[in-house]
């Protein structure tokens, strides 16, 4: 079944909503076709394909809500799922935070779909694996990687006449390249909705270069260093932080964005003046759906302006409770920067550490968003504008809030795979003062 057209989806959803006898009904159809290929030790290890379509029906009697799902779409099945949701709603306890279905909205389509990605075949995937493996074998390196691609659609309708439909695609490629002696390791990753932007031949060269260049690493004393974080390294910490941008937690006094004495930090200078974040569903490189998880339309919105927090995420319930107009919650995280590449940032650095990637990031203290994690797959010492030699990996204990108060320079933002956050993210390479490394790791 997989992907329904807008007309097919509307037909099913309209029927479902009309069948419901509850006070209100919201129905959502989702479908996806996903393919993948995995390889390790220069061999393809697994390849797979999944195809799934699902209808979820939510009904409410007063503040009592029931949900049921089904993956068959004949009239009898639709009737059954609606009645099941209604039965469950009648048995459910009242939800004091219940919010009625959203009114009719106008959504402007965002560029989440690419024909090229939707057309990917098993042969394409096999070629990506083969290209990665062949290039590595030729230089006596070992590749382990994963390509996952897919197309999906989401459509929803409710008893207030609201309706939305959009298709999306995604291609996510990662590859770890190691030297035969296990002393060097490199990595590359691409995340895009548009497969024409993905060139495996270019990507694999990056991982191979990093692997070869990171052998023979020397140990540097842990401590505070000027660092250049490549976009993937920076995104690990920044993405993690944006998981805690909720207004409710801030207002309740249990977030780094809570203010002493009560309330949140909207309007306060939380980051350095070079720091700007915004969200925009229509960004051509890292778009999001034009509605949020409650069906509220998203808009382009500043989140942090010149280091001041401008907006937090409000659920409709919390917005109402706080007397705020509901605004669609963020669907992507876009950080502004300059025009320089990572290499150009290196050239302007007297002494510092270049970090390819951060890994296994965990919250140490939510009060300050102190995070710990490690560098990996290429960490280098910089002197007089040049990469001098590879260094052993470090463990860091650093807060992205403190880190973003120590910005020396920002480069050109790029989209990176979203490891620590479920949204598309664009982050520049960045040069930072006093980044805190607390111990050495022997891991390669």
């Amino acid at each position: 079944m997989g992907i329904f057209t807008e007309a097919q989806a509307k037909d099913i959803l309209t029927k479902v909503v009309a069948m419901s006898k509850a006070d209100e009904c919201t129905a959502q159809l989702t479908g996806q076709i996903q393919g993948n290929v995995r390889f390790a030790l220069n061999n393809v290890s697994t390849a797979g394909l999944t195809d799934d379509t699902d209808l979820q029906v939510q009904v409410a009697y007063g503040k009592r809500v029931g949900i049921a799902t089904i993956n068959q779409f004949d009239d009898a099945s639709l009737e059954r799922v609606v009645r099941r949701a209604e039965e469950l709603a009648k048995l459910a306890p009242e939800n004091p935070e219940f919010m009625p279905a959203v009114d009719k909205q106008v959504y402007k389509t965002s560029p989440t779909f690419s024909e090229a990605t939707a057309a990917i075949t098993p042969v394409y995937r096999a070629k990506v694996a083969a290209a990665s493996i062949t290039a590595c074998k030729a230089q006596n390196l070992i590749a382990a990687g994963f390509l996952e691609d897919g197309q999906s659609f989401v459509a929803f309708a409710n008893s207030k006449g609201n309706f939305g439909y959009q298709r999306s695609t995604v291609l996510d490629y990662t590859c770890t390249v190691r030297t035969q002696d296990g002393r060097g390791s490199g990595w590359v990753g691409t995340d895009t909705q548009d497969a024409t932007r993905f060139k495996v031949e270019d990507d694999i060269q990056i991982a191979m270069r990093k692997a070869s260049a990171s052998s023979e690493a020397r140990a540097l004393e842990p401590g505070k260093y000027t660092v250049i974080l490549e976009p993937m390294a920076a995104a690990g910490l920044i993405g993690f932080m944006f998981n805690f941008f909720g207004a409710r937690e801030a207002d309740e006094g249990r977030s780094f964005l809570s203010k002493a004495g009560g309330g949140n930090k909207i309007g306060q200078q939380v980051f350095g003046p070079q720091v700007n974040f915004y969200t925009d569903p229509w960004d051509p490189v890292a778009p999001s759906l034009p509605w949020d998880e409650e069906g509220v339309p998203r808009k382009r919105m500043d989140l942090v302006k010149d280091g001041k927090v401008v907006a937090l995420d409000y659920s409709r319930y919390w917005a109402q409770k706080q007397g705020k107009a509901p605004v669609g919650q963020m669907g992507n995280i876009l950080m502004t920067g300059g025009t320089k590449s990572t290499a150009e940032l290196v050239r302007s650095t007297q002494r510092g550490v270049l970090v390819t990637r951060t890994w296994y990031i965990r919250m140490v203290d939510p009060q300050t968003v102190l995070l710990t994690g490690l560098t990996r797959d290429g960490t280098f010492y910089i002197e007089n504008g040049q990469i001098k030699y590879p260094i052993k990996n470090f463990r860091f204990n650093e807060s992205p809030v403190i880190m973003l108060n120590n910005v020396e320079e920002l480069g050109k933002p790029v989209r990176v795979p979203p490891d620590e956050v479920s949204m598309n993210i664009m982050v520049p390479p960045m040069k930072l003062r006093d980044f805190t490394f607390t111990s050495l790791s022997d891991a390669v």
Binding site: Q56, R84, R178, E252, E294, Q367, T372, N397, V444
Partner: protein, 544 residues
């Protein structure tokens, strides 16, 4: 579990619909009490195996799975959600031309599974030409038709939702009445109905149950803007609803009055204690960084065992198959051959897929191998890995360790961590005895933040509760504590282990591995254990 999936678990769909897709379709509670007839499962399995053999498979296994989950989610005085999910289908794995092939279908008809079996053979044959060496399977003798069930006293799925809601509302009310600013409490119940059949002649029907009751209590000081969270001290377990009976015999009262829980949990009692301790944490002394002797409670040490022993001794990681995701391992094959000194001679660590009450306990793994207990570290020396049927020969063994698992019928089974546990000390020693010998130390209970590098050398762990030990006595609570270790040095610093009367299990529901990512549930047992001279850092920072 991949972080993105974990976040999706908490996410709401359009119109406030919780997204159950990662766990299957939403069903009514009464459907949780049913099962597919075993004769139907056998017919499906036979149809798949016959089709696979006809298509040229030299081996075939079939997993007919029905995976049921129930979530009851509350905060303060509200029930946020009650969701039941089901995922059913058939996964077929074959060997053809020396290569693996796998296909799965949720259509439970003999025609559909036969077609999926043929697809699996086609995939295997397509993969075969690029295979460097043919798959070698350690032999398994068929066991005919057998069945097994997690030994539970009370099936969680048959307990009425009202009773579960009443339980959590009682827990939350107790915390709120005791002065908690916030509490969230959850019941997460799992029933895996798994039928395994293979061309070796096995038809194994297993009914696996698990339970988890996490909670967190938050205390806020609005004036200073400070807040602290105290997580519950329960563990996810391979038990039924009887786990929540709070039996007095399963409680351990520590030297400072902290109550720890073994095979039974008193959630309300723990919520009240959590409220008091969350408040204490707001004003507790910030730790002075330096070297300390650590006394680690089992509900804390379990995660350290998981990360520093469980993962590095997975053979697929050692070989490099997980290099792009979970990582590799410092504990390479040459170290096994040389019986590498992993820790002090007090350290004996076993893998065990049979331990009663544990999350990983089953009678047969997902390759139809009879489960067992085996040594990984004996007297401090590395003596074994965890291997599946197609890996055993690499280690020079003639049998699988029985630790293959798939988290769904739709995912292929692969090597997953067994329950990995530290054996208790042989000499009589209580926690009080252990603490009485510590001059300058920290007693740590409960799980906190955890992070470890991709080869499992450098790790950092936090905890839930920290107490200062001075001259053999617990003096006061501490905060901002994390310890940093290098795996072999940490285990070499193990100087004392309490006796078996203190043995308890820690557990994790969401151990992530593989691409596409799969989760598995695993327990880690130990008694309270002492580690000397461990590097402790202070994690307090100021945002200005």
């Amino acid at each position: 579990m991949h972080r993105r999936d974990f976040l999706a678990f908490g996410a709401m769909g359009v119109g406030g619909i919780i997204l159950p897709s990662m766990f299957g379709k939403v069903i009514a509670a009464e459907e949780l009490n049913s099962a597919i007839d075993v004769a139907v499962k056998k017919a499906l399995a036979d149809a798949a195996m016959n089709a696979a053999k006809s298509a040229g498979a030299s081996y075939c296994d079939v997993r007919v799975g029905r995976y049921l989950r129930q979530f009851v989610i509350t905060r303060e005085r509200n029930v946020e959600n009650v969701v039941n999910t089901e995922s059913s289908g058939v996964g077929i794995r074959v060997l053809a031309d020396g290569a693996w092939g796998f296909a799965a279908t949720n259509a439970m008809t003999t025609d559909a599974v036969a077609k999926a079996a043929q697809q699996a053979v086609a995939i295997a044959k397509a993969n075969a030409p690029t295979q460097t060496a043919p798959v070698q399977l350690a032999p398994v003798k068929g066991v005919g038709e057998v069945s097994w069930r997690t030994p539970i006293a009370k099936n969680s799925m048959t307990v009425p939702i009202k009773d579960k809601v009443d339980l959590l509302m009682g827990v939350n009310a107790a915390a709120m009445d005791a002065g908690a600013d916030f509490i969230s409490s959850i019941l997460f119940l799992v029933n895996e109905q798994k039928y395994f059949a293979s061309t070796d002649g096995s038809y194994i029907d297993q009914d696996v149950h698990r339970i988890w009751a996490p909670m967190e209590v938050t205390a806020v000081d609005k004036k200073t803007g400070k807040f602290r969270v105290r997580d519950g001290l329960s563990a996810p377990m391979g038990l039924g609803f009887e786990y929540l009976d709070g039996r007095a015999a399963d409680k351990t009262v520590g030297p400072n009055g902290i109550i720890s829980y073994g095979m039974s949990y008193d959630m309300k009692e723990d919520a009240i204690a959590a409220t008091k301790q969350a408040r204490e944490k707001l004003t507790a002394k910030s730790v002075k960084p330096g070297k300390y002797d650590l006394v680690l409670d089992p509900n804390h040490l379990g995660l350290t065992i998981h990360e520093t022993v469980g993962h590095p001794l997975e053979l697929d990681r050692v070989l490099g198959y997980e290099a792009n995701y979970a990582g590799t391992s410092f504990a390479t094959m040459d170290k096994l051959k040389a019986n590498f000194q992993y820790g002090s001679d007090k350290v004996n660590i076993v893998a065990d897929k049979t331990q009663p009450g544990s999350l990983g306990a089953v009678a047969y793994d997902d390759e139809g191998v009879k489960t067992k207990k085996w040594d990984l570290i004996r007297n401090g020396k590395l003596v074994g890995y965890q291997a599946t049927r197609d890996q055993a020969h690499i280690e020079g063994k003639s049998e699988s360790d029985g630790c293959s698992y798939a988290d769904s019928w739709s995912n292929v089974q692969f090597q997953r961590m067994a329950n990995i546990s530290l054996e208790p000390g042989k000499d009589k020693m209580s926690v009080a005895d252990m603490i009485s010998n510590v001059e300058d130390g920290i007693y740590i209970l409960g799980r906190g933040s955890f992070s470890i590098d991709q080869q499992r050398y450098n790790a950092q762990f936090g905890g839930t509760l920290f107490y200062e030990i001075k001259n053999g006595k617990i003096t006061q609570p501490l905060e901002d504590v994390a310890y940093q270790i290098r795996t072999p040095e940490f285990w070499a610093a193990c100087s004392a282990i309490c006796d078996s009367s203190d043995y308890r299990m820690f557990g994790s529901f969401f151990d992530g591995k593989g691409q596409p990512s799969q989760v598995s549930a695993v327990s880690h047992g130990s008694s309270t254990t002492r580690f000397d001279g461990i590097n402790v850092i202070n994690t307090a920072r100021s945002l200005g």
